[in-house]
């Protein structure tokens, strides 16, 4: 049997070479980029013999940094970075005037405007957003026709490790909202929300919970509009409709299809940037639905009294956690501070979280790592 197997495999392997011939053309020009080294430096390479200048545009916690590349005699441009903090990075190349994705990278930023490649610099020990050898939850992609918008849309649902649809355990739910220009998979692909929860749950730091990541556009045409210069009516329509969708379409689907606890104390709403503004809107207008509210780097409100006329200290007293995070280098920090001053003037309690970093995914991943352990306690 062993002999037979070996012989068979030898033949298979010979046969497979016909496929390998077919493949050779595809891979002949492939080079390794990015190459992440064990000292946390990263080498970037690009074959571009005719280019006059090439640089890496690397997105770190503070924003985008340019790293100049050098060309060798074959036309291969390359550079090795200094050691990077263990994290997930997006980047692109600027080739003369053209911004391009590295033709050799395998992971991509899912975004309507900001294209890029992705790579991970692993930590030792592993960072909370890395896929490690712990029990994993699942990520479900769901599709439905939104009656409110009239479009076909998708959204993502994380079920925690050991989730058993036939079991008796019921879970609390974190509704986690993405930013403007993101796609529905931003919180899994960029935010690594599923791995963060896997790791925190395995370490006993977070309660097992579901995470629901809906598509955050109430009016998807906002994407085209911004592109052509922005339009006030569209922004209004977009935010307004999204909260309607969350309440009338997302929550009912989840509460019908999954074993979740249907109770305000078991519902959280968090989000980043536009999604942070949506988290404020959904949470502060509906504390009867959400006891946990966590906007990150949020879009805020010039005249909060008009946006939240019913909100006072008594109404807000129901809220178990109002956790407002923003990076100290974030362009929205000033607006966030203004909004927090308004909350204070109304005697509304909140937790202020000002971290290092700008309007970047490094900040939002770290936010989620800090936030998840606080929820549903």
């Amino acid at each position: 049997m062993l002999h037979m197997k070996t012989a068979a495999v030898r033949i298979v392997c010979r046969a497979i070479f016909s496929l390998s011939v077919l493949i050779t053309n595809l891979v002949a020009q492939t080079i390794q980029s990015p190459e992440v080294h064990s000292d946390r430096t990263v080498t970037f390479r690009l074959m571009a013999p005719l280019a006059q200048s090439v640089e890496v545009r690397l997105d770190d916690a503070s924003g985008t940094k340019a790293i100049t590349m050098a060309k060798d005699a074959t036309g291969l441009w390359s550079v090795t970075s200094k050691p990077l903090t263990a994290d997930v990075y997006s980047y692109s190349f600027k080739v003369d005037t053209l911004t391009v994705i590295d033709p050799n990278v395998h992971e991509f930023v899912p975004n309507h405007f900001e294209q890029g490649g992705l790579f991970t610099v692993p930590g030792s020990p592993a960072q909370p957003w890395e896929q490690t050898d712990v029990p994993h939850g699942e990520v479900h992609r769901r599709f439905y026709t939104s009656k409110i918008v009239g479009d076909q849309r998708d959204f993502y649902v994380y079920t925690p490790p050991g989730f058993n649809p036939k079991g008796k355990t019921k879970y609390p739910v974190l509704y986690l909202l993405h930013g403007y220009s993101d796609m529905a998979d931003a919180w899994t692909m960029m935010g690594k929300a599923n791995f963060i929860l896997d790791n925190l749950i395995a370490q006993g730091k977070a309660k097992p919970m579901m995470v629901v990541m809906p598509l955050g556009y109430g009016a998807p045409k906002i994407l085209e509009t911004a592109w052509k210069g922005g339009d006030a009516g569209q922004w209004q329509h977009n935010m307004d409709r999204f909260v309607e969708i969350l309440l009338a379409e997302a929550i009912p689907q989840i509460e019908q299809d999954y074993r979740v606890i249907r109770d305000r104390k078991s519902r959280a709403v968090a989000g980043l940037s536009m999604g942070g503004g949506e988290a404020f809107l959904a949470g502060l207008k509906h504390p009867d639905l959400f006891a946990w509210i966590a906007p990150m780097s949020a879009a805020t409100f010039d005249d909060p009294d008009k946006v939240f006329p019913a909100l006072d200290a008594k109404e807000a007293g129901q809220i178990k956690l109002l956790w407002i995070a923003c990076g100290k280098e974030d362009g929205l920090l000033k607006d966030n501070r203004k909004f927090k001053a308004w909350l204070t003037s109304k005697n509304i309690k909140f937790t202020e979280v000002e971290t290092d970093g700008a309007h970047t995914w490094q900040v939002w991943r770290s936010n989620l790592v800090e936030l998840a352990p606080l929820l549903f306690r």
Copy 2:
């Protein structure tokens, strides 16, 4: 109430403009590409003032075609294609010597070696792979540690519309394997397997079934090896181990976690290219496990007697369908015909499906549209 809401929304919209300022820089240089017109022509655009030549490399059913672009006074290169067949297309730009993804496209080819953008030319009526207003199944991404390979890996599971984990209905399962260089999500992102099944099930053409799409590498290092020139031992190891994983890790997980029928007549194995070779190996060596076998554009075997020593007309008589598809322009057609001649010499029945097209996703999507209705009858 209506008045209050309108006022609130007006304020939100004013506030959100602070976010919009933050965003303006991101989108200022964004142009629309590709633009799919109602007459099924497609306009491609690229801003590259310093480039000497730019062309589109468009992947159609027959392979990759170059379309020359022209530059205007602003440095914007563009071209409008002739009307295309309604389908999903991948493409890249060749800028002088550099092959790049369109910086403005939103969907990407998930592949280790062949990067590209994706767009859909919709049909009228909709083609079977389009997301239409019918009940949708879900796509579950699962993660686990493979004991056989010793890595962290993912795979995808389609559950049909109305799938109820708490219900009594049990489903048959199609194991659907990707090709060399693909990632685990190839059959959903490129193959649109979930939408194809949604549409066929809605039309009553296919039986409701689950589709399981495992990562097809038994030895993931095969990806590095091929890249550096190919290695016989690695190819052998890769195919061998994958069939082990399918039988010992994928099928048991699925049959434990989902309501599926655990019966050879309710298991099918299909795949493309390398995955077609794996479908032959798994199916023809284990007709006790799979009654339905459907290799597409498959890698085949030089000496089938040695690979399948136990296979004869009696053994193969258990197989309800051996469906062997290959495009007439596919580089593997000749090998496929040789393998079919061997089956004929052994009196083993099969269905021969030779279609138009080459080694392309247009062919494989159409294959799945033809195959799914035949299964589990």
